[in-house]
């Protein structure tokens, strides 16, 4: 069975209060070298068939429709 990972990240211009709060916590914990954090999502999609081009195209559709919110987020695929 093939596995495809869909990474979903906030568009660069969208505010990420979560990431900011986490970065603040890191610095309070003494991780001074953390300049910033952006939080995203990661979906591991398990396929019943092979991860061929057709399947990847379908997964990309899926990501655009369901996994990512196109108003706020971008996504990318990778096979693992």
């Amino acid at each position: 069975m093939a596995r495809v990972v869909v990474d979903v990240v906030l568009k660069p211009e969208i505010h990420d209060p979560q990431g900011e709060a986490i970065a603040g916590a890191c610095r309070r914990l003494g991780f001074g070298q953390v300049a910033g954090i952006r939080q995203g999502k990661r979906f591991e999609v398990e396929l019943s068939g092979p991860a061929d081009d057709a399947a990847l195209a379908r997964i990309a559709e899926l990501a655009a429709e369901l996994l990512a919110n196109p108003v706020l987020e971008d996504f990318s695929l990778r096979t693992v």
């Binding site: 209060p17 979560q18 709060a21 986490i22 916590a25 309070r28 914990l29 939080q39």
Partner: protein, 225 residues
Amino acid sequence: MTARVGVVTFPGSLDDADAARAVTRAGGEPVPLWHGERDLHGVDAVILPGGFSYGDYLRCGAIARFAPVMSALVPAARAGLPVLGICNGFQILCEAHLLPGALTRNAGLRFISRDVRLRIETARTPWTSGYTAGQQIVVPLKSGEGAYAADPGTLAELEAAGQVVARYIEINPNGSAADIAGICSDSGSVVGLMPHPEHAVDELTGPGSDGLGFFASVISVLAGA
């Protein structure tokens, strides 16, 4: 002498005033504790109240666990100080490894605010000694990540050692393992509870006053100590 019960305010704590009011109603003296101080001001017990500490960003309770006040609380709790974590407080206690397991996303994936019926499973903790084991109470539940989860070994140990403090009956609202609504440390002094007894201390503003027992219990235990 009335018992002094500390109530910690983290950034984003919401039910701290309610917890303090419940302590007062039960005859104790609430003492506000500030997240940024490494000092428990000599209190006899501590409540970690509900809310969204640090926005519950990352994971509920994950950031609060590192607050300065926790560096005083964790050793005190290990040494036997009675601690009650309600909702977000329960999540913080798990993140701080004072209680085993974790609270995860509700099975229905939505925030749930409703009254729930619980069965008190043990009266041997300082927070439940005023109840009888098997007693049923109705208190509000309000959380998005309230499903208790732990590995099978931990669950078995909790059951075997009688560390399940309260269970959902009638329905399991959030998919908690073994219908668990609350657990305690092996000594019993640290209790974590997902529903909110502090919102059930008065018929006027809650579903009843069934929750008052948690606060009355600890105060009478402390008075007898």
